[in-house]
Symmetry: C2
Subunit: 528 residues, 2 copies
């Protein structure tokens, strides 16, 4: 096998979970099928998938393994950012509440919270494995100790090192027990940033002592638990490396992670197309620096060909010893050997998935129930005519709001007509809304690319205006616990309000039931 072909195995490129080019949701980042087939034929060893239903994904995974000419000895690493159940990304599988939903329970009942985190991991791993993924890019091991963090937020397992450690480890055990690799991310810890590395390179000014006490703790535990991979963060940490971001830092990857923390599994970069990297490094240099620093796998290079050539060049020029390549290939082989291969065809895999639906649905419901918060009490359920004012990140491609979503249909049945607000709406003007009571439903949480955690005072002001006009008929916050904290104190006890960390239809059903609108469960089940 040529050197270039060997190096290609260390690359993970991005593709859509949909089968046709025209269905790609992000054609800027997702390779078309022709290019994808080309790279698989060149030996590229991994694909990260986003988009499509569970059925699309099952077909796609099998197609990609076939295109790659996979054998029992060498298969593709197929991964996805499945952090909140496979159904979060691939409709038709199980969609679970965000991890942070379990943190409050852990502080009162650690064994139950950990058992649920383990079940969360088993559910995710089981469904991923059935569909054909052998690598789940979770758990997030960042300690979300900064409520203004725009990108980690509810994706984390806790706000303290202890909770994050216990829950992410339990998740990991459940996940990897199903025969898929996990991924502790984002090393050395992305929890205390108020910037989004998708958009810029955040700085973390903490001392080595503080990092040891807080940020590193969940990673140490994940390593001790045998995690299959660790993903690097695009973060500048002057205490560890004054020059390079963690992803490109030999001090962080080789000295700290490999030697000090003793991690001998796969180190994978976070996506190199993120602006934290591309603003400062070219595609070729970023990949070479990452490999030189100690990464085994190069995720989403901005230019696959240039990056691969840079690694080849680096080998030929002796930029690193040739055994570095063999070590990374060997780690990849060992990781794949730990995976349970998917032996079912698509129809059988989907049928097996359907057979788990009821037990996984029960887990989803239990998580929703324990994380629901309520306050106040209506004398009667809200009654229209009125306005159902819904805030979402984007009404286009809005997975929490299928047309049959409880957040739409239940208020409608009570006489509340929906008005949607998102980043593409006109500025909200209360005077121009129809008159009558307002039921406010806020789908707000930290999410990559938003650049804000959502709790910036805007909604508090709106709530106060509605209260002053005696128009607030109810409030539900879906997602951010920080926004809920901010708003719930403003609202008198005669108005029922609720919070769910989840945004999916099942969360809506449960939260609205607590306001007197409908039953606790969603007829469509707990995935969207």
């Amino acid at each position: 096998m040529t050197l270039r072909r060997q190096l290609a195995q260390l690359f993970v490129v991005r593709a859509s979970g949909f089968g046709t080019d025209s269905q790609r949701r992000y054609p800027r980042w997702e390779l078309g099928n022709t290019e994808l087939q080309h790279w698989l034929e060149q030996g590229v060893g991994g694909v990260i998938l986003l988009g499509g239903s569970a059925a699309d994904l099952a077909l796609r995974c099998r197609q990609l393994q076939q295109w790659a000419g996979s054998t029992d000895q060498n298969r593709l690493l197929l991964c996805a950012d499945v952090e909140e159940g496979v159904g979060q990304r691939f409709e038709g599988a199980t969609w679970l509440v965000p991890p942070l939903a379990l943190a409050p329970l852990w502080h009162t009942d650690p064994p139950r919270a950990e058992a649920l985190a383990r079940a969360y991991g088993r559910c995710s791993g089981n469904e991923a494995q059935l569909l054909g993924l052998n690598w789940v890019l979770a758990p997030v091991c960042d300690v979300n100790n900064n409520p203004a963090n725009p990108v980690i937020n509810v994706r984390a397992w806790g706000e303290t090192a202890a909770a994050t450690t216990a829950l992410s480890r339990a998740f990991l055990q459940g996940l990897e027990g199903e025969g898929v690799l996990g991924c502790a991310k984002h090393f050395p810890g992305h929890g205390d940033t108020s910037q989004d590395s998708h958009l810029q390179l955040p700085q973390l000014a903490h001392s080595r002592e503080r990092l040891d006490e807080l940020e590193f703790v969940p990673f140490r535990a994940a390593i001790a638990a045998g995690v299959g991979s660790v993903m690097t963060a695009h973060l500048q940490l002057p205490a560890l490396d004054p020059e390079r971001p963690a992803t490109l830092s030999k001090a962080v990857l080789s000295q700290l992670l490999r030697q000090e923390l003793g991690f001998n599994g796969l180190i994978v970069t976070d996506a190199l197309v993120m602006e934290a990297i591309t603003k400062h490094y070219g595609a070729a240099e970023a990949a070479a620096l990452a490999f030189e620093a100690g990464a085994d796998l190069i995720l989403m290079p901005a230019d696959t060909d240039a990056a691969l050539t840079a690694l080849e060049q680096g080998c030929l020029e002796g930029r690193w010893p040739l055994e570095r390549v063999e070590q990374s290939l060997e780690r990849r082989r060992l990781a794949l050997a730990r995976c349970k291969p998917s032996e079912l065809d698509t129809a059988a895999a989907l049928s097996a998935l359907a057979n788990c639906a009821s037990s996984h649905g029960a887990l989803a419901q239990e998580l929703l129930q324990l994380s629901l918060q309520q306050q106040g009490c209506n004398s009667a359920p809200p009654k229209g005519p009125g306005v159902n004012l819904i805030r979402v990140d984007s009404s286009l491609a809005c997975s929490p709001l299928p047309l049959a979503a409880p957040a739409l249909l239940r208020p409608q049945a009570a006489g509340f007509q929906a008005t949607l607000i998102d980043g593409r709406s006109q500025a909200l003007d209360l005077e121009k809304l129809p008159t009558g009571p307002v039921l406010l439903q806020l789908f707000v949480r930290g999410n990559p690319f938003r650049g804000s955690a959502g709790a910036d005072g805007y909604w508090a002001e709106l709530v106060q205006k509605l209260l002053a006009q005696q128009r607030l008929a109810g409030l539900v916050v879906y997602g951010s616990p920080y926004l809920w904290q901010e708003l719930k104190g403003l609202i008198p006890a005669n108005i029922a309000i609720a919070y769910s960390p989840g945004q999916m239809p099942g969360a809506q059903a449960l939260a609205l039931q607590s306001l007197g609108l409908g039953a606790a469960s969603y007829e469509g089940g707990f995935t969207n």
Copy 2:
């Protein structure tokens, strides 16, 4: 076989094209899998599908045939409202401009228009057959001679009997040549109504002479061409039957359609759950009346069990001769015998679909190009900062606007930020929009359940306001030729404007190119 089981073969129930219950977009109408399996085991003979990608559909069709225990001798009829290419309903297949787009060409170049309609039928039939549908509920044979028609509109092949006849027949020949059944609808002609039978029962006061000269003409031609099925309209036509709507009228179905017009294929009701029927007839009685009137197949009864029992009862009580059942079953057998069975497994079917993508994409592009209309000319492309004001029916589940849609990305690249208006937005307030030029994109067409054809003066008023403020930077109408007619006369020649009958991303690319924004083709291809 029991009588009940025989009768069950004459029923067509509705299911989602998605494989799991939780993915159903219309759970009110779509049977869950348990109920669906029950009915297929009871012998129900047909399923109408909506929802899901082409991949979901391929899996689903095979699953349903398996659940039904299909054999070479008896298979399910699997159908969908595929009127504008399979990609209109099932993402990943080819999405074509609406049929009415070809009517203007037919008036100047009939052979070319008919050749294209034939290719349109071949493309639809070929993709349907590959995916597993054996019955396409098209062509619409209604003459759209009423621009205010809220439900037929651009789904028709023409505004005159001659155009509708020639083009729908050519489509049908192309379609059925691929081994799938067609369906001439909605007999005896739904073109001249200004009401939507999804919401109420429209009246058509025309004389028999007028119907003979106009409405019947395309149906006579379809019958002469051997169409496999005819769908009934939920219309009251006093000249034909003073008492009953066409769907339930013996005068219309048996005397007119069977005897006078000599149609001996399958007569299928339009969906019996539509309010035109359910407002006036119970589920059992509607099905019994339809069968008694002469229908062979009962589509989407409001209550399958009650409807089946009513047919059984009717047989036992001698409400119709028993041979009526045998005749309908025989017609169903003959129809199925004309279908080319789908012998490919899902992966092979999708691969065959991918192999057609380039020729079908070329057809889609040709249809877009010949139906594009432009007026005026900018001295330079529109340049922001400004507002990209987009009107859609619903921003949720909005198939024309994936996040990578040209209608979003191209204006954005020129400095126009998108503002979306739909039925769930606050009333539009120009004063509250950001300042600067406005690019107006109107996705407006007649569609079932809207109750309006869209050209009601609202948009003309807005255009005039924008012109008065010298803020109109450009206009594109996607869909309704009637709205385009209304608006284009208002706009001076120094403002470039465009019209496409299509709403898909390919239509956006082409229309925006004519305004100076980007290239003529959509990188994602011509399906969405």
